[in-house]
């Protein structure tokens, strides 16, 4: 008798469900394309920041009081701030900070949230109940509030802000992954996996997890905009990144009292937050429409 390796019992398209689905369905999604293009531009600008900005030294401490609060002009496209730093340079460098925050929060949240969720969803019973009640408690704290509280306990800086946002963000992924994992563990191929005596740990990570990823990936792109906004709000309140880091929320805060006389100090970093959050929203919405399981395979 030949023994069929369990992997072969799992249909291939199930294991790579996300990629196959995505390739076919994202074609012709204008929203997704628009969001992706804008984000790509932001990412490229962030990566090339030191080479495409006229005054890269301004990203950190550079002080040039002679040129303080210049209105936008040929040398300083977005004008200069109170200490004479080029706002355009700092906005471009700010993209690095924002993308770093988004990337850190999302990867930590997914790591904690999806792992817990998949285990809870697969195991069911009291394990699921306990995990769900814990997420209920964390979800009852609005993200910004728990972040506020944590930022006073710990030293306010970029790392604290990342930690604080993560603490409030992971439960969403737990709930999402638990729901998907529960529905997967009821499918016929999972009966086969169990019948073959595969250990629960292997079953979860090898067979449940990969198939739970589609909704998680959609959620990731939908959440990224919210994370940018939350991080900006925290640093606007002085609880995130600290001077002289180029961070959009912090830059708006520093320019808010000058808004009537020197609007550019606050406006351009503020618009940068708007553009980045909007691009992530478009990307996420486009993905959600394209990958909506209820849409079936008609398009």
């Amino acid at each position: 008798m030949t023994i069929i390796p369990p992997e072969e019992l799992v249909p291939n398209d199930e294991r790579f469900a996300f990629l196959t689905l995505a390739r076919g369905r994202l074609r012709g999604q204008k929203l997704f394309a628009a969001g992706a293009i804008v984000l790509l531009i932001i990412i490229v600008m962030a990566l090339l920041a030191p080479w495409i900005t006229p005054y890269p030294q301004d990203a950190q401490g550079g002080v040039d009081p002679v040129n303080s609060l210049l209105a936008p002009n040929g040398q300083h496209w977005f004008g200069t701030d109170q200490v004479g730093r080029d706002v355009y340079t700092r906005v471009v460098f700010g993209a690095r900070t924002s993308l770093f925050i988004v990337f850190s929060v999302l990867s930590l949240s997914v790591l904690i949230g999806v792992t817990l969720g998949v285990i809870a969803g697969y195991a069911g019973g009291w394990i699921r109940d306990v995990v769900m009640r814990v997420t209920d408690v964390f979800l009852a704290f609005p993200a910004l509030l728990l972040s506020l509280a944590l930022c006073i306990v710990l030293q306010p800086d970029l790392k604290t802000a990342i930690l604080a946002i993560t603490v409030t963000w992971w439960p969403w992924y737990t709930r999402l992954a638990a729901g998907v994992a529960a529905s997967i563990s009821g499918r016929a191929y999972m009966d086969a996996v169990r019948a073959l005596g595969i250990s629960p740990a292997r079953a979860v990570f090898r067979h449940v997890l990969p198939n739970s990823l589609t909704p998680v990936i959609v959620q990731l792109s939908l959440d990224a905009g919210g994370i940018i906004l939350t991080a900006a709000a925290l640093s606007f309140l002085g609880l995130g990144a600290q001077e002289p880091t180029a961070e959009w929320g912090l830059m708006v805060a520093q320019g808010q009292d000058l808004f009537t006389t020197a609007y550019w100090v606050a406006l351009f970093p503020g618009l940068a937050i708007l553009v980045a959050a909007f691009a992530f929203n478009m990307l996420g919405e486009g993905m959600r429409t394209a990958l909506d399981p209820r849409r079936g395979f008609t398009s």
Partner: protein, 338 residues
């Protein structure tokens, strides 16, 4: 129905207990020694030890948690370090002011978001729908503090159509003093017939409420659009159209009501989110709400006040969810039966 209610209430109670425990942990982690603050700056080691005993800090953590919880139940939320008043007293003034702002914002969200969502669903897939969808994503992506700065400068400072900051014209306190019942200024002014303050508050409310409403308007539009258009793609809608109802009638009479459930659930979530989002708006418009109180408490490392703000917002969230879930059982018989 009865069993559903009991289960739902038990679940809410469990979340509240969890929230209290989490707040206790955060408070314990806060910098500063509560005993030192209690005993005063010139306390001797003996005074400190006595303060520790009075505050129960010498007892095991679990006993302290028990004391903390029973204190909360008895309404002893501690004394604020920066106002020198009981935290419950401060919250009783600040929370209603925030509620006034966020409540108005949610009214805007419902009044603008639902018709927009219906319009998008009616013209699903057309440029009208595309425009509304893009617009709703755009306002939801707007950082509140930027919107607050822009609107404040444009409509208050430059054009002078609206007041720049504050809750109402403080000169009115002398000419037509307000009697407080609910502590929500606009409601108290309305029920006591104090029209000068009512109008002044309404005038002051519009700009900050619109700023707080931006995100809710965006997500309510998106949710209404998604829920109603999905409902319209079901068999019952096809039948209704076959019976000769116009697409507009199908939307209003048949597809809208079943879509209310997800919209209500969303509103509860958005309520709590906006309550905290309003913190930033309150700071810019100098609105005397929770946000201002929270920021001052954080600056002065006022543990009891921070814990109070955290608790009241979390409780408001739990309560809003509970109210929505119960309201749903009345709107949607499917929830009752499940």
């Amino acid at each position: 129905m009865g069993r559903y209610l009991v289960r739902r209430l038990a679940q809410a109670a469990l979340v509240v207990v969890g929230v209290v425990v989490l707040t206790f942990v955060i408070v314990r982690l806060l910098p500063g020694d509560p005993a030192a603050a209690y005993a005063g700056p010139r306390a001797s080691p003996e005074d400190l030890a006595r303060a520790r005993e009075v505050l129960g800090l010498d007892k095991p953590v679990i006993v302290q948690l028990g004391m903390y919880m029973s204190g909360l139940v008895r309404g002893e939320w501690g004394t604020s370090l920066h106002t020198r008043l009981p935290v419950t007293h401060d919250l009783a003034i600040a929370f209603p002011a925030s509620l006034e702002l966020v409540g108005t914002a949610l009214l805007f969200a419902v009044a603008i978001g639902i018709p927009m969502g219906l319009l998008a669903a009616r013209f699903f897939g057309t440029p009208v729908d595309g425009g509304i969808r893009l617009g709703s994503m755009f306002v939801a992506a707007f950082p509140v503090f930027l919107l607050a700065l822009i609107l404040q400068n444009l409509f208050a400072t430059k054009l002078g159509w609206f007041p720049v900051a504050g809750e109402y014209d403080s000169k009115l306190d002398a000419t037509s003093p307000l009697h407080l019942y609910t502590n929500i200024t606009i409601v108290d002014a309305f029920i006591t017939g104090n029209w000068p303050i009512f109008l002044s508050t309404a005038h002051h409310l519009i700009l900050p409420a619109l700023v707080v409403a931006a995100y809710p308007i965006g997500v309510v539009t998106q949710m209404t659009r998604a829920a109603v258009s999905e409902e319209s793609s079901l068999d019952h809608a096809r039948l209704e159209r076959a019976l000769g109802f116009t697409p507009g009638q199908v939307l209003r009479r048949f597809s809208f009501r079943p879509s209310l459930n997800p919209i209500l659930t969303l509103l509860a979530l958005v309520f709590a989110y906006s309550l905290v989002n309003a913190f930033l708006v309150e700071a810019i418009f100098n609105w005397p709400g929770l946000g201002k109180y929270a920021v001052e408490s954080i600056r002065s490392l006022d543990t009891a006040a921070v814990a109070g703000v955290t608790l009241i917002v979390a409780l408001a969230y739990v309560l809003a969810n509970l109210v929505v879930d119960i309201a749903q059982t009345f709107i949607d018989p499917r929830v009752r039966l499940s």
